[in-house]
């Protein structure tokens, strides 16, 4: 595939029907091209291509050629004429390839019909660019993930529980040797319930909501071993509960890793390039799919802004290189000071959250609106912290004077640390309360703080439920009370202040961190509140439509765009970090804390994971031996050795590919230089003639 050959092809101009001479010339060209190895890395046509290449007939993938349409049609006619000369299997192969291609395009059309919100995403991408679109794609991924997880939980835990409860199977009482104090659990409200309490209970997960399928405490530890309808039917609800939770985590991890792999592949093939480079902006900056004059103007401003940013960085680099030693020292010491200030702010937020959580847990029995405020205090403090501290850090960043790209990265890192660690602090404080680190005597009886938490898993679940709900309420409240009025004010009242403030910008990174935070809360709470994935699905769907509305009515596209390809990996990496946090919580709850005696599926076990060895003992002999063998050293050491071998193989393969890419690039450079050299030689050897050939420039 060289430009020369295609230009020769283009030398046929004019009519659509080639003359005899032209078609003959064309046949020569087509056979020349077909003998070349035509490497097509594009996945959609590669399969058909490779089949055609490996087959006995040298056909040419017409749609990938650069000939004008009339020539392509003529080439096709030539190919069709060649077909009967080959053996029958050849034409059957062509038909099969065609059929496969048609089938694939039909399947693609069918699936496109089913893809959620496809048209909306296209519209968003066309009007606001790839960065904002990547946020909505991420949101869609989380909606689907949560919905599938809910189906998993519903199928294995919820529906069996409902069935067994309706059949009337009573929970087994705890066989543990423990005082009756620990078995006390009365979540239902005593006496007459005031009307507005219903609403308060809905918001805080207490009262009528506490003893329901929503929370851990309602599920029974029924182990059904019956002979229903003649067949031997057994269902172990506690085991199902635990294994579903473990499998849910594993499933989410696999989804994230697969998605990350896809994004990473794109990044690696482009060699981790510097997208901000000038040639990229000039040649690939324009989005041809941009529609409408407003979007076009904005895109132009956006490109202008990107170039300005790069030029600014050049200027800053030159300026930094010209700084005296004294200036450098002051700059660096200022940066260190500002770093400590930022760390101080973040630590102050953490302390505030810890204090708020302790206070809230101590005053959880205050009735009425004040009680509601106290229960929501941790959520309020977290949200306030996550809102104020990044603003302050932005002001600090102005003093630090990092180059623009570094500023963005630093701000993002600070925000990520703030969000996820604040959640961690909340959980740590809760754990301290449950395991009574402050007042030892409360835990002596039941191994956990049974005075304050008769059913501690439900309390943790309630806390996560409140966080999720509060997040949603704050988003909707911001939309209604801040963003719409801001737009009204800016549009209808023009003064200097409003011009300076301007319309809202849709800032992608902070919105994505909000999503990651919400998802981490759900993962943490899924063990204690099995319906939380369903609530989260509904929450994210509402959030999608709210954000879409605010995007189209209130926002102007950001001047500072977010790169969509490398940012996809970043979002997924942060999500993975949140997953690890949730995993730590789950492992801790399952392995270290004693389950409540009074409620839940694990009430008769010393630790939650003890259900697994116990169920093990009920397995048939053969299965037990097989599982013991898998766990033994005789199996695991050879497995480990084989995995090491495979890993070494893949590492070697990856390094070979990297080296061959670098070598090919060098070859390309050499080929260009060779061409220049040859052209110059031709110029030297040819006598001066009136014809100008391609080599002569300027």
């Amino acid at each position: 595939m060289t430009i020369e050959q295609q230009r020769q092809g283009l030398a046929f101009s004019g009519s659509g029907h080639p003359t005899d001479q032209e078609s003959l010339r064309f046949r020569r060209v087509s056979s020349r091209m077909s003998t070349q190895i035509y490497h097509e890395p594009n996945s959609s046509t590669s399969l058909a291509q490779e089949e055609e290449q490996s087959g006995s007939e040298p056909t040419l993938e017409l749609r990938n050629t650069v000939f004008p349409m009339a020539l392509k049609k003529a080439a096709r006619q030539v190919q069709q004429m060649q077909v009967p000369a080959q053996f029958n299997g050849g034409s059957w192969k062509q038909k099969r390839i065609k059929f496969v291609r048609q089938f694939k395009s039909n399947v693609r059309e069918f699936l496109y019909f089913f893809s959620l919100w496809g048209k909306t995403l296209q519209k968003i991408g066309g009007n606001f660019g790839g960065g904002v679109q990547s946020y909505f794609i991420f949101l869609r991924f989380l909606v689907i993930l949560n919905f599938v997880s809910f189906l998993l939980i519903a199928g294995f835990v919820l529906i069996p529980s409902i069935v067994f409860r309706s059949v009337g199977i009573k929970p087994e009482s705890s066989k543990a040797d423990v005082s009756s104090e620990c078995l006390k659990y009365d979540p239902n409200p005593q006496g007459l319930v005031v009307f507005y309490e219903f609403f308060l209970d809905l918001l805080s997960g207490t009262g009528f909501m506490e003893y329901s399928y929503l929370f851990y405490g309602y599920y029974n530890n029924s182990v059904i071993v019956t002979s229903l309808v003649g067949s031997h039917f057994s269902y172990n609800i506690p085991l199902a509960y635990l294994l579903t939770a473990v499998f849910y985590f594993a499933f989410c991890l696999i989804c994230i890793i697969v998605r990350m792999g896809k994004a990473a592949r794109v990044a690696v093939t482009t060699g981790g390039s510097d997208v901000r480079s000038y040639s990229m902006i000039v040649f690939t900056g324009w989005d041809y799919g941009c529609l409408g004059s407003k979007a076009t103007k904005l895109k132009q401003r956006n490109i202008y802004y990107r170039l300005q940013v790069d030029l600014e960085e050049e200027r800053l680099k030159k300026h930094a290189a010209s700084l005296t030693l004294c200036n450098k020292v002051t700059l660096h010491s200022l940066r260190v000071l500002m770093f400590f200030v930022a760390v101080g702010l973040i630590v102050a937020t953490f302390l505030a959250i810890a204090r708020a959580t302790t206070f809230s847990q101590e005053n959880s029995h205050v009735p009425g609106i004040l009680g509601l405020f106290y229960t929501y205090l941790p959520s309020i403090v977290i949200t306030l912290g996550n809102f104020l501290v990044p603003l302050l850090c932005d002001q600090i960043a102005l003093l630090e004077k990092y180059p623009p790209s570094a500023t963005v990265v630093v701000a993002l890192l600070r925000a990520v640390v703030l969000r996820l660690v604040s959640l961690g602090i909340l959980l740590f404080t809760l754990w301290k309360q449950i395991m009574c680190h402050d007042s030892r005597d409360k835990c002596n009886l039941c191994h956990y703080n049974h005075e304050d938490y008769q059913c501690w898993e439900t309390s943790v679940g309630q806390e996560m439920y409140k966080l999720t709900l509060f997040d949603l309420l704050v988003s909707i409240a911001l939309l209604v009370l801040v963003e719409f009025p801001r737009r009204m004010v800016v549009d209808h009242w023009s003064c200097k202040l409003t011009q300076w403030v301007g319309r809202q910008e849709f800032v992608v990174p902070s919105n994505v961190l909000g999503l990651v935070y919400g998802q981490t809360v759900v993962w943490t709470g899924a063990l204690f509140c099995p319906l939380l994935p369903l609530i989260n699905t509904v929450k994210f769907v509402i959030l999608f439509y709210c954000k879409k509305i605010t995007l189209f009515y209130n926002c102007r596209p950001a001047l500072r765009t977010f790169r969509s390809t490398s940012s996809a990996i970043f979002f997924l990496a942060v999500l993975l970090f949140g997953w690890i946090l949730a995993l730590v919580v789950m492992i801790y709850s399952v392995a270290v804390i004693h389950p409540s005696f009074a409620c839940g599926p694990f009430r008769s076990f010393f630790r939650m994971w003890k259900i697994v060895p116990e169920s093990f003992s009920t397995l048939p002999e053969g299965a037990r031996d097989f599982l013991f063998f898998i766990g033994s050293q005789a199996f695991s050491i050879p497995l480990f050795a084989i995995s090491c071998v495979f890993m070494c193989y893949f590492i070697a393969l990856a390094s070979i590919y990297g080296k061959s890419v670098a070598m090919l690039r060098a070859q390309l450079k050499l080929a260009g230089q060779d061409k220049q050299f040859l052209v110059k030689q031709i110029e030297k050897m040819k006598p001066l003639s009136p014809q100008h050939n391609e080599g002569e420039q300027d």
Binding site: E40, T45, R63, S279, F283
Partner: protein
């Protein structure tokens, strides 16, 4: 397909399917778009392969192309006479290359043609300057334009002749992750 349409013969539609990335439905839809541009010029019956070309001014009036700063160059690159007059074959070819299923190499070839204003098969400094001015609506100062063009050529030029040949351009495009999604017009 159930309904009989008389715009193209089945043979013609098969040929279009093989030579472009469109399905039958999409080709018929493209024909109706082409017809809309000039209903009195474009015949509804294409079975005899009529020789009808639409001028540049009509094509760039399409909503998909109207706001594109490179619309004239796009249409000129796909026209055989280089003046921007497109027959239906060339019209389909243009949108086929700009569709999302066209491979990277094909798009790169045509992108190179589009940005090559003086059609000398090299992207020289003047070509880049024109491209940049179209991109930013001439809001950069001349010094800034000069600086950006110099840096762009410096980054991409592999063979050191101070202009970009197709090989340089293609090498740079392979490192651009967004190229496939930005060089794409939905129709």
């Amino acid at each position: 397909m159930g309904n009989k349409q008389t715009i193209f013969t089945d043979e013609q539609l098969d040929a279009y399917q093989d030579c472009t990335f469109f399905t039958r439905k999409e080709i018929l839809r493209l024909h109706s778009r082409y017809h809309e541009l000039a209903p009195h010029l474009v015949p509804m019956d294409y079975t005899n392969e009529p020789d009808c070309k639409l001028p540049l001014a009509l094509i760039v009036d399409m909503p998909e192309l109207k706001e594109n700063p490179f619309r004239n160059r796009i249409v000129e690159s796909f026209s055989e006479d280089g003046m921007g007059n497109l027959s239906f074959n060339e019209f389909v070819d243009m949108f086929s290359v700009l569709s999302e299923m066209a491979p990277r190499e094909l798009k790169a070839i045509y992108a190179f043609k589009i940005y090559d204003y003086n059609v000398d098969n090299y992207l020289c400094k003047e070509d880049l300057e024109k491209t940049l001015n179209k991109l930013t609506k001439e809001e950069l100062t001349p010094e800034e334009v000069e600086l950006v063009c110099e840096k762009a050529i410096e980054e991409a030029d592999l063979d050191g002749d101070n202009k970009l040949s197709y090989a340089d351009f293609e090498n740079m495009i392979t490192r651009a992750p967004d190229f496939l999604s930005t060089f794409h017009i939905r129709i």
